[in-house]
């Protein structure tokens, strides 16, 4: 154990940079996107770098990774990268090799795209594959949605880029809170308390303190050494479960998908913005979540039809007004849409006559 290495950190990135990048590091002058999925970066030196972007499932096997490596060896001298949205980028210096690479990719069934005004890969989380708090699966709904929106991955036909994300619970490990369109798994069940387990596994004060709405109180019968939940105050966030495993809030029937829309991250034109609730609940419907897929398509299509050029989804909604968004997309407006969570709620109320009938 004497030579046990710790705290060495990640390898230095330089060893992974292809020579063209090392030579032109910090000297890039401009870029073009000659076709969907292909970026061309031109250096002040005149050097040209081509990146071919391919989509994939984020949940992959080492077999898959080896296949990617084979391609990178064949076309890119072994250099490639992943994007911040889990796409693969093959880095080429020879323009002529783009077509052959694309051909190989097509054979493997890996789509090329995700650039410019496309729907690029969906940022997502673990779901039933690996997490202990999901209301929905992650990889499954993502596959279903991307199958449905496939035409938009490899094209630039939308008014602007559209970023979709999924989080399997309201912890929102994806970028759900700031996405053009987001799926979020929601529970709708008050935690079922396992008193027996609780007294052994959980600290009562920490458990009580974990509830943001103060719904948890000590059990009135002190001999039980457990807690009770004031049901009407529980909004199923699962934070108590995170602190105490004796408080699961899962349910085969009541969990489902909420859709949030209109968020963004970039500062282009309008500042970064949160996604907002569009549909509070769609039933959990594996394996392909058809109602979710359908509603997302509906929103995307209405956006594509209604938005001005260059308008992000949220910018379009802000321009027409949320009341028109609900009308145009034919989505019901419910009590759940109206914020009632503490003081931030006030900021969401309409304190003006600026509304449409």
């Amino acid at each position: 154990m004497s030579e046990r290495k710790t705290d060495i950190g990640p390898p230095h990135y330089e060893q992974f940079l292809p020579p063209i990048i090392k030579e032109n590091y910090g000297k890039w002058k401009y870029h073009e996107i000659p076709e969907p999925g292909v970026l061309k970066h031109v250096s002040e030196s005149g050097a040209e770098l081509y990146s071919v972007r391919a989509g994939a499932s984020r949940l992959i096997s080492t077999d898959f990774v080896r296949e990617v490596c084979d391609l990178a060896d064949k076309f890119c001298d072994g250099y490639f990268r992943f994007t911040s949205r889990n796409n693969i980028e093959f880095l080429l210096t020879d323009k002529a090799r783009i077509e052959p690479l694309k051909k190989d990719l097509k054979e493997l069934g890996w789509p090329v795209g995700g650039t410019g005004h496309s729907v690029t890969s969906i940022i997502h989380t673990q779901g039933w594959v690996h997490c202990h708090t999901p209301a929905i699966d992650a990889s499954g709904p993502v596959k279903a949605v991307m199958d449905d929106l496939f035409e938009y991955f490899g094209s630039h036909q939308l008014p602007a880029q559209v970023r979709i994300a999924l989080a399997c619970c309201i912890n929102m490990c994806g970028a759900v809170h700031c996405s053009d369109i987001a799926m979020c798994g929601v529970h709708r069940t008050v935690p079922k308390i396992d008193h027996q387990k609780l007294r052994h596994l959980c600290e009562i004060p920490t458990t009580i303190a974990s509830c943001p709405t103060g719904a948890i109180r000590p059990h009135p019968d002190k001999s039980i050494k457990s807690v009770v939940v004031n049901e009407p105050r529980c909004m199923y966030c699962g934070n108590c479960y995170t602190m105490c495993p004796a408080l699961p809030c899962f349910d085969s029937e009541k969990g489902g998908v909420a859709l949030l829309v209109g968020g963004k991250v970039s500062n282009a034109k309008s500042p970064p913005a949160f996604s907002r609730l569009a549909v509070p609940y769609i039933p959990n419907n594996p394996p392909r979540w058809p109602e979710t897929v359908e509603t997302i398509r509906k929103i995307l299509i209405k956006y594509a039809e209604g938005a001005n050029k260059w308008e992000r989804l949220g910018e379009w909604i802000e321009r027409i007004g949320w009341e028109k968004f609900f009308e145009v997309c034919d989505l019901p407006f419910t009590f759940q849409h109206i914020d009632d969570y503490k003081f931030q709620a006030y900021e969401t109320y309409r304190t003006s006559m600026h509304f449409k009938f």
Binding site: G9, T83, H130
Partner: protein, 419 residues
């Protein structure tokens, strides 16, 4: 008949199928067969079959591993233990095939062969390791030059946009800054000593391609202070249709410089008379729109650095927050001393005052911005706020009155300044 009829339905369709991929691995790895079996069960029952967490790890580290146990271990013994290992990715997610093949070898040997490239924080994610394999796997990883990333109440693996490696707009070296800070923070990355998680993300410009403003407690976003560089002849080429808007990435073939660029500038600081594009740079707010539209004509200025924003996180506990500006401009150059010092002041103050599971942004809301800014030794600046307060409920400290007594009228950094 297939044992996974529901999952099988996810093998069709044009998007690559994780089911197909996992199935082929399942042939070699029995635990993946069990993974698919348990997942099918979840698809039937619409409920997860993973038990609540569980603390496992490697020697001396308090992070980097997420314990995961099946609640159906008898039926699916292969996933009885199915822990996550988070391996800190290299800056910008660049790899050589050699490096990635080596990671695959290690993971085939010690784990399930299932992984994510990458996790939402940025790490390489190995999904499915038994407890007894964690340590040997870790040993091989470090031997190969890799280390674990963060988890739990630690500093988390930072990430960065591709920056100067392949982007013409990067206002500082995101790749280097990310690497340097990651190395600097190794101790805090592996040993939980914070009230909760703490993330840093580095974006080279306000396009923010790693979503730093939304997903990192400390968001470092590149910006320029001087003038946008304009190539007027390229502007003409866009106006004439020789160059395509967004370099070809749009649904529109020809740019209308007035309507599409000038007309959509959020600060109205541009004008175009059909020949020359003029920018009133003192009133530009660096939104990047015009640059995005005409990448061959416009570029950020050359007096560059980063704005430092703090506080973002997902909705737990009081609703999501976006990071807010705490320092409008910092020069970002190796060895990043100013940045490191600011970062220490932030984490020290937070570690001292934060409650368990309280993100730094929440602590600031609880204790007040002034208390934070004074601890971080940052002066008040109008860039920190979108809009000043509307309520009249403001405090005066003794230091304000003392300064006032000395004839200064308005409090700034310390004490009042003469008007």
């Amino acid at each position: 008949m297939s044992k996974t009829p529901l999952l099988d339905q996810l093998e069709s369709g044009p998007w690559p199928s994780f089911v197909t991929d996992l199935k082929r691995i399942a042939a070699k790895k029995p635990q993946v067969l069990d993974l698919l079996g348990q997942l099918e069960r979840s698809y039937q029952e619409k409920i997860t079959h993973w038990k609540h967490g569980g603390i496992v790890g490697v020697l001396g580290y308090g992070s980097g591993i997420i314990g995961r146990y099946s609640d159906l271990p008898d039926e699916f013994p292969g996933v009885e233990h199915f822990h996550t290992m988070r391996i800190n990715q290299p800056s910008g997610w660049f790899y050589t095939t050699a490096a990635l093949r080596q990671l695959c070898d290690i993971w085939d040997k010690h784990g399930s062969s299932v992984m994510n490239l990458h996790g939402a924080t940025g790490d390489v994610i190995f999904l499915g390791c038994r407890t007894e394999n964690l340590e040997p796997c870790f040993a091989e990883l470090t031997a190969a030059g890799w280390d674990l990333g963060g988890s739990g109440s630690t500093f988390r693996s930072p990430s960065c946009c591709v920056g100067p490696a392949r982007c013409e707009w990067s206002c500082y070296d995101t790749m280097e800054a990310c690497y340097e800070i990651t190395q600097e923070m190794q101790f805090d990355l592996h040993r939980p000593s914070y009230p909760y998680k703490y993330k840093i993300k580095f974006s080279g410009c306000p396009n923010d391609c790693v979503a730093a403003v939304a997903r990192a407690d400390l968001s470092v976003i590149g910006v320029w202070k001087d003038d946008i560089r304009v190539d007027q002849s390229a502007v003409q080429a866009y106006a004439g249709g020789e160059l395509k808007p967004k370099g070809g990435g749009a649904h529109v073939d020809k740019l209308d410089v007035q309507a599409d660029v000038v007309g959509l500038c959020p600060t109205y600081c541009m004008s175009y008379d059909g020949k020359t594009l003029k920018i009133d740079d003192r009133n530009c707010n660096h939104c990047m729109h015009c640059i995005n539209m005409m990448p061959q004509a416009l570029r950020p200025g050359t007096e560059t650095g980063a704005a430092i924003l703090l506080g973002s996180h997902a909705p737990i506990l009081e609703g999501a927050q976006l990071s807010w500006v705490i320092q409008p401009f910092m020069v970002m150059e190796s060895p990043y001393d100013e940045f490191k010092e600011l970062n220490s002041r932030i984490t020290e103050w937070w570690a001292e005052h934060g409650k368990n599971r309280e993100r730094v942004g929440e602590l600031i809301l609880r204790l007040g911005m002034r208390e934070f800014l004074e601890a971080a030794e940052l002066p008040p600046a109008p860039q920190q706020v979108r809009i000043p307060r509307a309520n009249p409920f403001f405090f005066w400290n003794q230091s304000d009155f003392d300064a006032e007594a000395k004839g200064r009228k308005y409090y700034q950094t310390e004490g009042f300044d003469v008007e």
